[in-house]
């Protein structure tokens, strides 16, 4: 039987604001000594209250805007109630029915649009470390701003998912709002995968959520694995169980973690400690005006403005640092009459590390590699005569139509010069002599 793969995605992106979502503690927790970035608020001590981080909210909206979402004029925070030792208040402050951003899309290279259901703001939990028969809690991560981006079930294969994820990562990095580093856990993803029979029109009645995926490579593997696993079950005439599975990178498979009988009852209700938030059109526009050129726009501009191919433009705009570097080099190169294409070629072909080589150094190397000493015409003539005399065979080969022979002769001539000389000029003289 053949099936259509249906995948929806939930991605969590941690923002790199200076302070946490609801208190003044530093949000930079990676590699810090456990429980050193804490206060009554992020520890959930009795009486502590959340004071929302305005920058984080602005950034969440910016992400939504970059993903073509509609921004709510009226929004609020809600409490998501559940018990877990990493959740000090016994609830997570999140957004339920009125998120900041809704109904956006991201366009893939094929032109297919992936629908963005919502982009909302919430807080991260503390980090649990399990050691033997006990567990340790590090609250440094507790209440770090987290943006959740939920897509429609619009993906039909793993490749689309990976392209989308790379785009999303690129966008938030372009916006400068998150490092979106999967290994450090700034970007976490959970695909929901199910298979639809060809003849079916409605969505499958089950879905399988996969967690613990910390690289793009694994997301592809995990999806491929699930497609195979679920197809086998469906082929037997059964329906896969609705469950949460975890990717095990050692066993290269997904493993059942939790079977969801019903949806969890999180008893959402409006967060009474934070008044609802109203945005004027003016405020929304102001946030939008802070968004600089996004990857897709930049790519198109590079093609148009610099006459680059789509391929080159894509490579140069992959990170904002490379793009910026390229543009700096182009503008500095103008006075030396170095074309954007030349610069692009060097950056791409020589895999220039933009963090190491300064644009000025790059230009210098282009200039010196194309600079040639002027040739002593008399000396050149003599050398050519000498070379032609010594290599009669090549001369006759050339004359009998083997044009490549000229390259051999050219090489022989060039060898006689210690300094760098213009090969094109030498070739012209050589050709004339051979006539």
């Amino acid at each position: 039987m053949s099936y259509k793969t249906i995948i929806g995605l939930e991605v969590h992106v941690e923002l790199k604001t200076k302070s946490k979502m609801f208190c003044g503690c530093s949000a930079d927790y990676f590699g810090q000594k456990p429980n050193t970035h804490t206060c009554p608020v992020c520890l959930g001590l009795p009486g502590a209250l959340p004071a929302p981080n305005k920058t984080a909210i602005d950034w969440c909206i910016m992400i939504g805007q970059a993903m073509n979402c509609q921004i709510a004029n009226f929004s609020k925070f809600d409490r998501k109630n559940y018990f877990y030792p990493d959740l000090p208040k016994g609830y997570q402050i999140s957004q339920y029915d009125q998120p900041f951003c809704e109904k956006g899309f991201i366009e893939l290279s094929t032109g297919k649009k992936i629908g963005i259901t919502r982009v909302h703001m919430e807080e991260d939990t503390a980090k649990l470390t399990h050691q033997g028969d006990y567990s340790l809690i590090d609250f440094n991560r507790s209440s770090v701003p987290l943006v959740e981006i939920v897509t429609e079930p619009d993906f039909n294969d793993a490749k689309e998912v990976v392209e989308y994820l790379k785009k999303l990562q690129q966008i938030v990095r372009y916006l400068g709002v998150s490092n979106a580093d999967m290994e450090e856990g700034n970007m976490r993803l959970e695909p929901n995968i199910s298979l639809q029979k060809e003849e079916e029109t409605s969505l499958p009645k089950y879905k399988v959520e996969v967690k613990n995926i910390n690289s793009f490579r694994f997301v592809e593997k995990a999806i491929e694995f699930e497609i195979k696993r679920q197809a086998e079950i469906l082929n037997e005439g059964k329906t896969p169980i609705q469950e949460t599975r975890g990717w095990n990178e050692i066993k290269n498979k997904t493993i059942s973690q939790r079977i969801k009988e019903e949806a969890n009852d999180y008893r959402y209700f409006p967060e009474p400690d934070i008044p609802p938030i109203r945005f004027t059109q003016d405020q929304i526009s102001k946030i939008k005006s802070q968004i600089k050129e996004l990857p897709d726009e930049k790519l198109k501009r590079f093609q148009k403005e610099f006459g680059l191919s789509a391929y080159d433009s894509e490579i140069l705009t992959r990170t904002i640092e490379t793009a910026k570097y390229f543009e700096e080099a182009v503008s500095a190169g103008k006075s030396h009459k170095i074309s954007p294409k030349q610069i692009a070629n060097v950056i791409i072909n020589k895999k220039i590390d933009v963090n190491v080589v300064l644009p000025a150094q790059l230009l210098q190397s282009i200039i010196s590699s194309s600079q040639t000493t002027s040739i002593d015409e008399g000396k050149l003539g003599e050398i050519i005569i000498q070379v032609l005399k010594e290599h009669q065979k090549a001369v006759s080969d050339y004359k009998s139509g083997k044009e490549t022979a000229i390259m051999f002769l050219l090489g022989q001539v060039m060898r006689q010069f210690k300094e760098k000389i213009d090969a094109n000029k030498v070739k012209a003289v050589l050709t004339a002599k051979l006539k």
Binding site: P40, G47, R267, F269
Partner: protein
Amino acid sequence: MKLNELTIREAREGLKNKKFSSVELTKACLEQIKKHNPSLNAFITVTEKEALEQAEKANNLLLQGDALETMPLLGIPIALKDLFSTKNIKTTAASNVLKDYIPQYDSTVVGKLKNAGAVIIGKTNLDAWAHGSSGENSDFGPAKNPWNKEYVPGGSSSGSAVSVASDMCIASTGTDTGGSIRLPASFNNIVGLKPTYGRVSRYGIIAMASSLDSIGHFTKTVEDSALFFNITAGQDKFDATTLPNPTENFTKSLNMGIKGLKIGIPKEYVTSDLDKEVKAKFEEAIKIFKGLGAEIVEVSLPHTEYGIAAYYIIQPSEVSSNLARYDGIRFGDGREAFGDEAKRRIMLGTFTLSSGYYDAYYKKAMAVRTLIKKDFDDAFRNVDALISPVCPTLPWKLGEKINDPLKMYLSDALTVTANIAGIPSLSVPAGFSNNKLPVGIQIMGKQLSENLLFQIGQAFEKATNYYKQKPNL
């Protein structure tokens, strides 16, 4: 007159004129506590050592001259409801869950009081987690009514009210979620202010129901209430629900009188359910207001009857979420240490928020909330303020309602609406029953109208002087 019987204003004057020192004043309060706390059970923790240290410091500052100008409570003993987090001082919420919990930080209000020079004399008893109307839900035993120890002092801020009424301190703090300041104030013949929601920071005060909790205080006089409010009111960056309005001087209109003011009587508050003696005292009060030149009119707040029902959905819903952090993992004892009333509210709230019930309960209650707010908005278009009894009944005997939660809940019928609407209300003494139990009335105004409430309360107090009567301990 004994030093501990002074009002804030009197104590300030005495300290300023060096008639006595802060240490003498503090010792007078501590002695009163030693003498009567064993029978009244107003305090859970008495911070004698710290209080005397603070009093010593205050003495030194007072010698330097004009310190009282910048520190309006310098050297004055204040008691705190044991929901207010106090750095390095045990804060129990009167629950066994937190019986040994020592906060690492001060709540905003405590910080403000300390900055104003107050001497923190101790932490007062309450219904555990502020759940209750009688004070009997305390895991540390009930506080007793100083007017008759067989009677409840009212709750949930039971100990705070008792400590002021029995002159164990000069003033005290409280929280009012559905009447927890006004009701005990009225049962103790003292003044209790429930401010506009968001006018005083909740930061650091153990939350009961976040959208209803108002942070206020108990004082012996209306003027003291205004003085105290000058210190506690104001926006706090740690509490996102505090209002941005600039704070005023709350004593400025105290003595303006009430001639020509239009005061409404909500007819739904004065029904046959009202105790006869309470009704009689309220009618007396109306006469006094008339005599002071106020125009009295009847108004209608048509959704009043749904107040308790809406309150007992919104409040337990928030309680169930707010108490979730007491899981025994990081501090405090485990959940098994919760008392019956807390368990009851956790279960009620968990139910009303559950999927499938949310729309029928929580959402509907929030719709009622909007209607009750509108009732008040409409009323305040026609009148300057509203007056009503605080509690439909007189103080009851200890144990009388403890096994009937619904009856207990109904004692808040006239107070919950102010919390639902977020408006301020001032409870002032209105006389005594035949068996010498205090009766109070409340003066309600629109949001941010505390100045007007003080003005009206002051006029009534000057005309009646009930506050001068003290319980016979």
